[in-house]
């Protein structure tokens, strides 16, 4: 039992890193615009499939393909916000929420039409299989891809935290999140700030999608489940707070992998347990673990 512990912890960290990348975009849109963006996970899905097209199908080198996907996704994310969410920005949060469900279903169908509904992978022929490093007499195996994934995630998270805290744009973002009207009066360009939030969130989600697709497989439905995992992380950790997203993602990642490794529960029930945890959390402590907002935000 104990000898697999380091391996399980490592897998948990890898999963948590991806959930964090997706959850950060969600928590920023939720914190600033006040609605749940169900289409956010689709940015991860779309990024993963674009990388499949450029890198695997067109056989471009990895880094140019990766960069191009991030740039395309940023443009897409900003345009999406302009055409679908901006017109209803001042509406009741149901409207953008329902629109985001529509966007999510639309993008999913587009990918099914182009790439098929089945499961695909970057490594179908096996020739690009990852290089592995083993420790502890082979009980602890790490692939180079997992190291890359962890490095990128940690660097992005630290960079983002510094950006939000110290840069002018980051401060503007926090001001808009706190009170859009006052921010506008103070001369902050709210539209531009929201665009930057979408650009950042989409970029992080797309990177998360490409990284997790290298670790697992690609399915057109991966986006929505990432959205829901991401949002569960946001709620668990505390809404509107980047560190809350990290804490929530860690809880979900560890819970999922420890349940699979140390209990007889079939892994198919993992998502059910995450959602059960989410519902219980909304009941017991709706502010999340790090959340500072009043309970009245969540419950009547």
């Amino acid at each position: 039992m104990l000898e697999i512990l380091p391996q399980v912890i490592w897998y948990s960290l890898v999963a948590s890193a991806i959930y964090t990348l997706v959850a950060i975009g969600l928590t920023m849109t939720f914190g600033v615009l006040g609605f749940i963006n169900f289409a956010h996970g689709e940015m991860a899905m779309l990024g993963a499939y674009l990388l499949l097209a450029f890198w695997v199908m067109l056989k471009w080198p990895f880094w140019p393909a990766f960069t191009l996907v991030v740039i395309l996704m940023v443009i897409f994310g900003v345009l999406l916000e302009k055409f679908t969410f901006k017109p209803v920005r001042k509406s009741h949060p149901f409207k953008p929420l329902i629109i985001s469900i529509g966007v999510s279903a639309f993008l999913q169908s587009v990918v099914v039409l182009i790439f098929g509904a089945g499961v695909t992978s970057y490594f179908q022929d096996g020739q690009q299989a990852a290089q592995t490093f083993s420790f502890l007499n082979g009980d602890f195996v790490v692939t180079d891809h997992q190291i890359l994934l962890m490095a990128i995630s940690v660097i992005l998270l630290i960079a983002l935290a510094l950006f939000l805290k110290y840069s002018k744009t980051g401060k503007a973002m926090r001001a808009v999140a706190d009170n859009p009207q006052v921010a506008a009066i103070l001369g902050i360009n709210v539209d531009r700030t929201v665009s930057i939030i979408f650009a950042l969130g989409t970029a992080l989600a797309a990177i998360g999608g490409m990284l997790i697709a290298g670790e697992q497989n690609l399915t057109p439905t991966m986006g929505l489940s990432l959205s829901i995992y991401g949002f569960s992380a946001v709620v668990l950790g505390g809404v509107g707070n980047v560190w809350g997203a990290l804490v929530g993602a860690l809880i979900i990642g560890f819970l999922e992998n420890f349940l699979t490794a140390f209990t007889a529960l079939p892994p198919n029930y993992n998502s059910a347990i995450v959602f059960l945890l989410l519902i219980i959390m909304l009941m017991v402590r709706p502010n999340g673990i790090l959340g500072a907002r009043a309970e009245a935000e969540v419950r009547k």
Partner: protein, 292 residues
Amino acid sequence: MLDYLIHLAAEFIILSMLTLCLDIIIGFVGYLNLGHVAFWAIGSYTYALLMLHGVPFFVSMVAAGVVAGIAGFLIGLPTLRLKGHYIAIATLGFMYITGAFLSNLTDVTRGPLGLPGIPRPTIFGFYFGSDFLFLGLTVAISLVVALLIYKILHSPFGKILETIREDEVAAKALGKNTFGYKLQANVVSAFFVGIMSALSASFFQYIGPTDFEVPRMIFFLAALMIGGAGSFWGGLLGAVVILGLEECTRFIALPPNAIGPIRTMIYAVILIAVMLYKPNGILGKKIKAFDR
């Protein structure tokens, strides 16, 4: 051609009625329940399993309604206290939990294989086997259910639900136990979904876990929004409009594996367009949540 029209009519009626049930909770109470198809799944599986074990039709149908109603009660307890968009995510989680059980409890539900060969009902020795006879039964039961829902929605109870939707604090200040009313509405909605799922399961004669996932949820949501949330007739109309559009795609030659995604794309575009340009739908009333 006539067979096709009869088949279509039954499908239109069943899906319209299911949309109407969703209207109770989204349109009248104003709670965005995204896991509503889970009630349909629970009702359908209850009904199908009972029918496959030879239980009489009416017993199976009422059992499906009761089990779905109990599910509505149990899921209402934790979620109906939440605010607007949190209920959306919690109920969506409920849909995923139900789906996980349906595809993993293989001993009971046969998992992803689904339950084929669900029999058409036999009532007092009379077998409703053909599509035409089944359409008659569907019309009869749907009329009763629709009448009951109409009565409920236009009773004082329905008015209280609308008050809760527009201003829950005011409803509370008037001394109404808003949580109790919301729970009752949730149970009523789930119960009627259960009743209708008896008809849908017998009509399609097959159910599987993939029938109760996101594409279906999008369908009902798009139908409700285009028809008009918060209106009895809007709830019924929406599904007819969307299915009508869907039937038009039948006459365009499409590769078979493209039909599913293209239909979902149609629902999605309708949903987005309605929310952007006509949030009250065709017949909907002015609802605070969708009007501002």
